[in-house]
Every structure is written in structure tokens, then in C-alpha cells.
Symmetry: C2
Subunit: 118 residues, 2 copies
DNA sequence: CGGAATCCCATCCGATACTG
DNA sequence: CAGTATCGGATGGGATTCCG
């Protein structure tokens, strides 16, 4: 399956293109990462719980996004060796430091939803 | 060119999927919108100025993103009828209300860049 | 339960050329 | 200067199936 060729795609694309905002986006860019992180603000969650909280994303996408967040040190993944399997995701300290960003996004979204009757 | 068929793609996808964060992302989601908006926080900018401030994006993408932001009432576009042409982009009041989100993103990115020597 | 692998089509987006 | 038009390759991501 693996041709032993480390692909490593466009990761770290905008690590420091000069703009601090791009650095943030290199970590939490994408449509679902902020949503996943926001849900994790309230505490650790199992995989299926995250799926239920994010119905607009497929399980596949949630897996991929979580893997990237894990690789960036934003979330931790704990596997409990039991049957049936149980995996818990939680924010790391670094992930927790994103709280101000996530909360301001939630606040703005709440305001926006109120003035958008559509 | 136009078959008079309003396509209107996946816009308004996550207007109110229940999660306020998704509502915010439906407006400022995407890789370059936050960057463009952040630059506009400091005042109105001409098209080429935005291009210079966002070298990682092509002019084409900047145009498209600005058009979406304009349609969502986040930025305004002012054309000056002179030669050579001159177009200025600025935040609307609604766009300005995104400042807390943009600033917290900048703050986090700055911190992140400092502890990332790479 | 929590994934990984594969298929495969829709779209994104860069490059290029042209315009008022 | 500030775009638009078009093409074509790359990518994204949904659906499905299978596995420990």
C-alpha cells in the first residue's frame, strides 16, 4: 500500500508567510476543524459523539481532520483497550489556547443567526 | 455566456445547522477570506494592494473571495470612474463586527509563530 | 465501535490570454 | 488598473465496503 514515499502534502503551507492570521489558518483552517474544536471545548468526546455533533461532515472527514489536529498537537487521542473499542478525543493545552478564537467565532455566529431570519 | 440560470452553489450551506460556529464559517470560511478581512481592518485597500498583501493567493482567487464577501455584505466595493481604473475595498459595518474574531486569530498566530522556530 | 481502503465524480484553482 | 473567460490538471470529499 505504502511505496515508502513520504508524501507530506501542502502541510505547513502558511507556517509563517509573514501574516499571523495565515499561521492560525494553517492549523485550524478548513471547514470542520473549528467546529470539532469548539465541541471539544466542553470536554473530551468519543468519536461517535463528535459525529453526532457535526452532522454536516462525514465520518471519513472527521477522522481526517482529527488526524491533522493530532499531528499539529491540538488534540489528543486516547484509545481504551476494551471491547467494544472506545476512543476519546480531547484538547491539548495548545488546543485549549484556541478558546478565545473559537468563542469569538461562536459569539459572532450567534449574532449573525439572529439577524438572519432566512 | 449566461444561460440565465442562477446557479448559486453551496452558498448558505451552514446558515444555521444548529452550530453558531458553522454560521461564522459560512461567511468567513475558506483559506483567504480571513486574511483579506484582516488586512482590510486597517482601512480601505485597492485590489492590487490586497494582492500584494496576500502573495500566496492568485488574483483570480482574491477576486472570487471578494465577490463572495461582497454578496454576504461583509465588504463594500467602490469603483472610481477614472483612468486608470481604481477600485477600493472596505469593510462594511457587518464586516467590522468580525474584528474580535480576526484579532484573536492574529493573536494566537503570533504566539504560535514564536514557539515554532521551524 | 472506530476506523482504513478504494472508487470516482464534482469542484477548486492555477495558468494563460484577453479587455475596458 | 482591475478585472473576465476559458481550459485542464489536481484535489476534495461522498458513498461504500471491509476490518480489528
Amino acid at each position: 500500500m505504502n511505496d515508502s514515499v513520504e508524501i507530506r502534502p501542502r502541510r505547513r503551507k502558511a507556517g509563517r508567510t509573514g501574516c499571523a492570521v495565515e499561521a492560525t489558518l494553517s492549523v485550524m483552517g478548513g471547514v470542520w476543524k473549528p467546529v470539532l474544536l469548539f465541541h471539544l471545548l466542553e470536554g473530551k468526546l468519543r468519536f461517535n459523539a463528535l459525529c453526532r455533533l457535526t452532522p454536516s461532515a462525514t465520518a471519513r472527514m472527521i477522522t481526517l481532520q482529527l488526524r491533522e489536529l493530532e499531528a499539529d498537537g491540538i488534540v489528543s487521542r486516547t484509545v481504551f483497550p476494551e471491547v467494544p473499542p472506545k476512543v476519546e478525543y480531547a484538547l491539548t493545552d495548545l488546543g485549549l489556547s484556541l478558546a478565545p478564537v473559537l468563542l469569538s467565532m461562536r459569539d459572532w455566529g450567534k449574532q449573525f443567526q439572529e439577524l438572519e431570519p432566512a
